[in-house]
């Protein structure tokens, strides 16, 4: 047992284990079927509610009566069962779990594919579907196949206007959408230690776009400090020299701004190759790039200027929104001509509030550009926050200026 996945799951790669789940969460999208499955399994009273969360984020506030009725039933259940519950506008499930809840060494399961985001803390965090989550509600446990790991060795630091999103798109482009299927990613090396928690969350978030089961960073001084500020004393996780099934060496200094073109996350191109492509919408937000540091970066570029295309900015959580108000960057964003959405997933999944019309093209800081995802016949280009800001100002895809 050497890799962090093996250490946390307590068995060697390839083994099947049953494990208690430290944190299990669902949202308004997956929670409906979870509740139905749990009842069908014979569930009538939740017992281990301190480890369970229900976090509304997918269609917030509800877009119509059908959604509102489904949410009403789920909200009543979550409240009456005493699980941790957050309502519309409090934020995206993964973001809320990152604000001082998930701790290093924990086993975290979310009923959402982007639950891998929490691997940034040195937790084994993975996504499941609704029925698996129902099983966890019923028993507190689930089964895992301990994954082999791909080592992503990071060195150096970012130059120019490259950011964590560009690094994430780089490794997804290199591995391919199924390059890490059934496996975990481990981000190691001195370059990993230089990344902030926000940057690590971006890298872990995209790991599922390479098919990975989890994307982990070892808890280091940066992790300890972040969690200390949020009331937790945690220990370091010291990496050992492990044998990986595959290794990827990435020098952050070589990373350049990229765009993932429709309809795959692994079809990446340098931004400059797409410069001039007219846009109908720019969207900044999501569990990938809706954090305060993202909003601050965006505001820093658009402040005092005017966007040339409709631009929707959605903070990933209410606390991020409040911080953006207090610091004044929200005013900068609004005065640049952008509009602000309720903290949550926004139009990323194509449900509401910012979906695309036929033939419209959107540059988004999200993590998926699948066909029709944000609306039938709409096209999605994925990029960094700086690229989104530069493109919003031009009304077309534009490379960010070198800082």
């Amino acid at each position: 047992m050497c890799t962090l996945s093996e250490r946390i799951l307590g068995a060697s790669a390839g083994a099947y284990v049953d494990r208690h789940v430290d944190r299990a969460y669902a949202h308004d999208g997956t929670g409906v079927l979870t509740l139905e499955a749990w009842k069908s399994m014979g569930g009538d009273q939740l017992t281990h509610t301190t480890s369970l969360s229900m976090l509304f984020d997918h269609i917030v506030p509800a877009n119509n009566g059908t959604t509102a009725t489904l949410q009403h039933e789920l909200r009543d259940f979550a409240r009456s069962s005493f699980m941790h519950f957050t309502d519309v506008g409090e934020g995206i499930c993964h973001q809320l779990m990152s604000e001082g809840i998930v701790l290093p060494g924990e086993i975290v399961v979310g009923a959402d594919s982007h639950s891998v985001t929490l691997g940034a803390f040195g937790a084994f965090a993975t996504g499941v579907g609704a029925t698996d989550m129902a099983g966890i509600w019923l028993t507190g446990e689930t089964w895992f196949r301990v994954p082999e790991s791909i080592g992503i060795h990071l060195s150096g630091s970012f130059t120019g206007s490259a950011e964590a999103k560009d690094l994430a798109l780089t490794y997804v482009g290199k591995l391919g959408t199924d390059g890490a299927t059934y496996q975990a990613l481990e981000f190691v090396g001195e370059g990993a230690g230089c990344l902030s928690i926000d940057e690590r969350l971006v890298l872990s978030n995209l790991s599922v776009e390479a098919g990975a089961k989890a994307g982990l960073f070892y808890a280091d001084d940066v992790t300890v400090r972040y969690l200390k500020e949020r009331g937790h004393d945690v220990s370091l996780q010291v990496p050992e020299s492990c044998t990986y099934v595959q290794e990827l060496d990435l020098d952050l200094a070589d990373i350049e701004p990229l765009v993932a073109v429709p309809h795959r996350v692994d079809t990446v191109k340098p931004v400059r190759d797409l410069a001039g492509l007219p846009l109908d919408q720019v969207f900044v937000g999501t569990c990938t790039n809706g954090r305060y540091s993202d909003l601050a970066r965006f505001a820093g570029i658009v402040k005092g200027k005017k966007v040339a295309v409709r631009t929707i900015v959605i903070p990933a959580s209410a606390s991020i929104l409040a911080q953006a108000i207090r610091s004044g960057i929200l005013t900068d964003i609004i005065e640049a001509g952008c509009t602000i959405g309720t903290p949550g997933c926004g139009p990323c999944i194509g449900y509401h509030m910012g979906v695309l019309g036929e033939g419209e093209i959107c540059l988004s800081t999200a993590n998926r550009n699948f066909k029709n995802r944000m609306g039938v016949s709409g096209e999605i280009y994925l990029a960094s926050v700086a690229t989104a800001a530069a493109s919003a100002l031009e009304g077309e895809i534009a490379a960010p200026e070198v800082a």
Binding site: Y16, G29, T30, V32, L33, E36, A37, S40, M41, G42, I59, N64, T66, T67, L70, A111, D112, S113, G127, V128, G129, A130, T131, D132, A134, G135, L138, T139, W143, R145, T177, D178, T181, Y182, G211, K213, R264, I349, G350, Y351, R368, F370, K371, N372, R373, V376
Partner: protein
């Protein structure tokens, strides 16, 4: 566990958004998912899925964790899905709702009869048998029970 059906061929890297689009998820009415399955890929394919064995390329079911995707396939009448690899959440979801998945690399003979036997570990097309990668013992138990709901109903 065994079964058979007519081959319906699909390419590699089919994501769950294309199996059932986000715009149809806000309901518990499974017939809606069955009616719109693969709509953005091929608007008429749903009619061919009754009694079908889907033979797809690698990485079937990548993307979102939405369980409505395998449910839509099952409700549309899909008997089993064969692919070289499956995205892992889809893999768990399908077995959890009782839809057999078979890891095997087959050239897809559109419309031909495909037979499979998970217990004995083979798929057969045109008289040719191919080996399959066996499911883990736990997944076999869950699938044999009919899904995770039925598994837990009988294990508690």
């Amino acid at each position: 566990m065994q079964g058979q059906g007519n081959a319906v061929c699909l390419p590699a890297d089919i994501d769950t958004d294309v199996m059932i689009a986000g715009r149809y998820l806000r309901t518990k009415d499974r017939s809606i998912w069955a009616a719109h399955v693969f709509e953005d890929l091929d608007p008429v394919i749903a009619q061919r899925l009754k009694g079908a064995v889907i033979i797809a390329g690698k990485n079937f079911g990548c993307g979102s964790s939405r369980e409505q995707a395998p449910v839509a396939l099952r409700e549309a009448g899909v008997v089993a899905v064969i692919a070289p690899t499956f995205a892992r959440i889809f893999f768990r979801n399908a077995i959890n709702i009782g839809l057999p998945l078979i890891e095997s690399t087959l050239t897809c003979p559109e419309g031909s009869t495909i037979r499979f036997n998970l217990t004995e570990g083979w798929v057969e097309t045109g008289g040719n048998r191919s080996a399959i990668r066996p499911l883990s013992p736990r997944m076999q138990e869950i699938l044999t029970a009919g899904g995770l709901v039925e598994y837990w109903r009988s294990h508690r």
